[in-house]
């Protein structure tokens, strides 16, 4: 059942709700979603420090008029492995899934190595192999740099 209290903040007709984000990580999640992806007439609401039965304190992000792509949904697992994604259509939860970190992350993160070929003007997306899951460590498939500090950028 949807908690009426949470709904009262921002009921949306169509969009995506990312719930159960670890406390304080909502803005990082927004960076993965990519602000420029979001329809300019739509509302994004962020609830910080919300009481949660499952994980103590949590953050919630709700984005109107956008259905998060599976690629981005999975990339969210990088920083918010406990997140759940609900797709809302006509005010109701139509799809709901846990995030699942894939073996490869494509086009979401920027390689931190400025001299990496993926940061030059070349027609390629950034790409990382997940080499460890807990805690997450990635390796750039181009320069092979290991990354454990993520700075998502809109891709």
């Amino acid at each position: 059942m949807t908690a009426a209290r949470e709904l009262k903040i921002t009921p949306i007709k169509n969009g995506t709700v990312i719930d159960h984000i670890g406390n304080g990580l909502a803005l990082e999640v927004l960076r993965i979603i990519g602000i420029d992806e979001i329809d300019k007439d739509s509302t994004v609401s962020v609830a910080l420090h919300v009481r949660s039965q499952k994980i103590g304190w949590k953050d919630i992000v709700k984005v109107e008029n956008m259905e998060l792509s599976p690629r981005k949904a999975n990339a969210i697992a990088l920083i918010a492995p406990t997140a759940t994604i609900s797709i809302i259509r006509d005010f109701r939860v139509r799809e709901k899934r846990a995030v699942d970190l894939p073996d490869r992350i494509v086009g979401i993160l920027k390689c931190p190595n400025p001299s990496c070929i993926s940061n030059q003007r070349e027609p390629v997306e950034s790409e990382f192999d997940v080499v460890r899951r807990r805690p997450v460590v990635l390796r750039c498939i181009y320069c092979e740099r290991l990354v454990d500090d993520f700075h998502p950028h809109a891709a």
């Binding site: 993926s118 750039c140 498939i141 181009y142 320069c143 092979e144």
Partner: protein
């Protein structure tokens, strides 16, 4: 195991068995590389050398390797003349160049360039060094030198000396030594130690890695000293550089109590890290190491282009 048509981007792409197979093939190439036998195994084949950053030795040893097997090369030796200067992407350059020959060697200032080239090219790409990144044929010739000296790559104690932070050859060499089960001893100035993530990687693949700050102690039971250049530009202060580089100098006095079979390797050119007085001792393996670059590259080219060695 199939080598035909494969890319050679990082030593990581090869299993222990595959590296062993390349080294076996390299040994068979030695009489050909010395000019004692001739071969036409690569008759009519063309290797494209795209050196978008200068490197004379790597380029010349590829040219020699190709010539010894009867093939030929087309070469960009100077990045200033290449269309990359006119703003063409590497992706496009490789797409075009790869259509001129049967395989391509790329030397490039940016890390990961060879991986990108492999995506753009329909022909095999060999990484001839990408920035501070990988240089797998260097690693293979380092391994060939150690194996020739000891008959094995396992159970050795290999001391990596000098700049272990920026020295690109040592990271891939350490990875390869680890998969062969040799012990790695790190001996570097405090500011030039092995990056933490590289050390962590070595440990996750089961390497035995130890640190020995004192070079004279590290030498004592070493089988191999792999010496790298300490570059002046890593130090702000001239005197600090002189002090540090002076304390990592390999000479006869330092090796007085070393094992008789100790082999000293250096990717060359050296600037002062290895005293010339070592050149005519049995410890000096670095000129042999440079020569072995030819048979190792011959073996690789034959395997990539024909799937077999003559």
């Amino acid at each position: 195991m199939g080598f035909k048509g494969r890319d050679v981007i990082s030593i990581r792409d090869f299993s222990r068995e595959e590296i062993e197979e390349i080294l076996r093939a390299s040994r068979r190439m030695i009489p050909l590389a010395e000019g004692k036998k001739t071969s036409h195994a690569l008759d009519g084949k063309i290797l494209t050398l795209a050196f978008l950053e200068p490197s004379t030795r790597t380029r010349l040893s590829f040219e020699a390797a190709m010539a010894r097997l009867g093939g030929s090369c087309v070469t960009i030796a100077d990045p200033a003349v290449s269309s990359l200067r006119k703003g063409e992407t590497l992706h496009d350059t490789i797409r075009v160049l790869s259509s001129y020959g049967d395989a391509i060697v790329l030397r490039h200032p940016n890390e990961g360039a060879a991986r990108l080239a492999a995506q753009a090219s329909a022909k095999p790409v060999i990484n001839g060094g990408d920035g501070a990144g990988q240089h797998p044929t260097q690693t293979l010739l380092d391994l060939a030198t150690i194996e020739e000296a000891f008959g094995t790559l396992s159970g050795l104690r290999v001391v990596l000396v000098g700049d272990l932070k920026y020295g690109r050859t040592v990271h891939s060499l350490a990875h390869a030594l680890a998969i062969f089960g040799s012990e790695i001893v790190l001996c570097a100035p405090p500011t030039l130690g092995l990056p933490a993530e590289v050390r962590e990687h070595l440990e996750t693949i089961g390497a035995k890695v130890t640190v020995e700050d004192e070079l004279s102690r590290a030498v004592r039971d070493a089988d191999v000293l792999y010496v790298t250049r300490i570059q002046r530009e890593r130090f702000g202060d001239e005197r600090e550089f002189a002090k540090v580089s002076g304390s990592y100098r390999i000479d006869r006095a330092l090796l007085a109590n070393a094992k008789p079979k100790l082999a000293v390797l250096h990717p060359l050119p050296r600037t002062g890290e290895v005293a010339p007085e070592l050149d005519d001792t049995p410890h000096a393996a670095y000129f042999r190491q440079a020569f072995l670059g030819v048979p190792v590259r011959m073996a690789l080219l034959a395997l990539l282009l024909t799937g077999k060695v003559p």
